[in-house]
């Protein structure tokens, strides 16, 4: 028997009371909640107040050319309450910005709520190029500092754009 976490109906009721009806879905007893990017910080703050004290993961999916997808990037926040063991997934969908000044899709950072978000958001920034407004130190996490692309985007070629060749060649003469 797969373990199913406790229901989150009580929390969803408070969310609906404050934010109106949001899109929800349930898969194998796990509830996920879709929230517009503009409201994401307030919603996550509200959920933290409701007892979701542990941020398990922040991740992202690129839905480029995905069947039925309306927006390109789907952020994933996995929350857990360590007291009630309730679990909740929050999805935030964003698109590439249309204006020229903004280079990256941006959402508000949740580092002020959970310190755990620090490296998780840096990883998402590094690999997907989604900027987190208010992050204290938004540097790349896994790729080398001088790397310019965001390689987990679907339009980035698997073999890269020549980055892996940009090194000096050391021969026997200079070593």
């Amino acid at each position: 028997m797969p373990h199913e976490p406790p229901a989150v109906d009580d929390v969803l009721a408070t969310v609906t009371a404050r934010f109106g009806q949001l899109e929800t879905s349930v898969f194998r007893g796990q509830t996920s909640l879709v929230v517009p990017a503009a409201q994401s910080f307030e919603l996550l703050e509200h959920l933290k107040e409701q007892g979701f004290d542990l941020l398990v993961d922040v991740s992202c999916v690129d839905y480029l050319e995905y069947r039925g997808a309306k927006q390109r990037y789907g952020l994933v926040y996995l929350l857990t309450s360590t007291t009630t063991n309730q679990r909740l997934t929050v999805r935030v969908f964003v698109d590439d910005p249309v204006s020229a000044e903004e280079k990256w899709p941006t959402v508000r950072s949740v580092v002020p709520l959970w310190r755990a978000a620090d490296w998780l958001e840096r990883e998402v920034w590094d690999l997907f190029g989604i900027s987190f407004a208010g992050h204290p130190d938004l540097r790349r996490l896994v790729m080398p500092e001088e790397f310019t692309a965001h390689p987990l985007r679907k339009d980035y070629p698997l073999q890269g754009r020549g980055e892996r060749h940009n090194f000096p060649v050391i021969t026997r003469d200079h070593s």
């Binding site: 890269g160 060749h165 090194f167 050391i170 021969t171 026997r172 003469d173 070593s175």
Partner: protein, 211 residues
């Protein structure tokens, strides 16, 4: 003088040696010392590293070939064994460590990943370390068995026996380095081999014949 010991017969024009004396060239002696005291630098980044450890451990016992003293400081090593895939972020580190090693030094590229990138043909993985540092021996396999690595070390010892001199001056000039360079053109190698190797000589003349 031993040679003038009473009772020893001497043939004119020949020198007869007393027992327990071996004659050699000093160059050969230096190479013999070098090849039998290789100190590996284990640059083990992935699964091949496990096999490298097995090679050093009791069952396969690299000590039989004088190469068991793994050192984690490049200053003390003369054989770099790159065991595993090298990612882009690691490559500057690899190059740095290689440069920190003192001459004479050699490099073994162990496994498919270190030699060619293996199945990891992605933006993050270096497609063969020989693109960026010189390599003396390639060991095929994924991972190579310890026997294969030992064979590579034996072959490298053979190579070392044939190349150095006692002064070690060849380790700073580029011309003598040519044989050791990775990615040397095949016909260049043939020319270099021709002096010693009759097979290479034949291939070379056949190639000249064709053109």
């Amino acid at each position: 003088m031993a040679l003038n010991m009473p009772g020893r017969q001497t043939v004119p024009g020949k020198i007869e040696l007393p027992e327990n004396v071996v004659v050699s060239r000093l160059d050969e002696l230096a190479n013999w010392c070098r090849k039998n005291s290789l100190w590996p630098m284990p640059f083990a980044t992935a699964c091949c590293g496990i096999e490298l450890m097995a090679t050093g451990a009791a069952k396969h016992d690299l000590a039989r070939f004088g190469a068991e003293v793994f050192r984690f400081s490049p200053r003390q090593c003369d054989l770099m064994i790159v065991a595993g895939r090298v990612v882009m972020k690691m490559l500057p580190v690899l190059q740095r460590i290689w440069q920190q090693m003192h001459e004479p030094k050699w490099c073994i590229s162990m496994g498919a990943c270190a030699s060619t990138g293996g199945v990891f043909d992605t933006y993050a993985v270096v497609q063969g370390i020989d693109r960026f540092i010189p390599v003396d021996m390639y060991v095929p396999g994924c991972p190579p068995r310890p026997e294969q690595l030992i064979q590579a070390i034996i072959d490298l010892q053979d190579k070392i026996q044939h190349e150095g001199t006692i002064t070690g001056r060849e380790f700073d000039t580029s011309q003598r380095q040519l044989r050791k360079r990775a990615l040397v053109e095949a016909d260049q190698l043939l020319v270099l081999d021709a002096a010693r190797n009759p097979v290479a000589q034949r291939e070379l003349s056949a190639a000249a014949h064709r053109t």
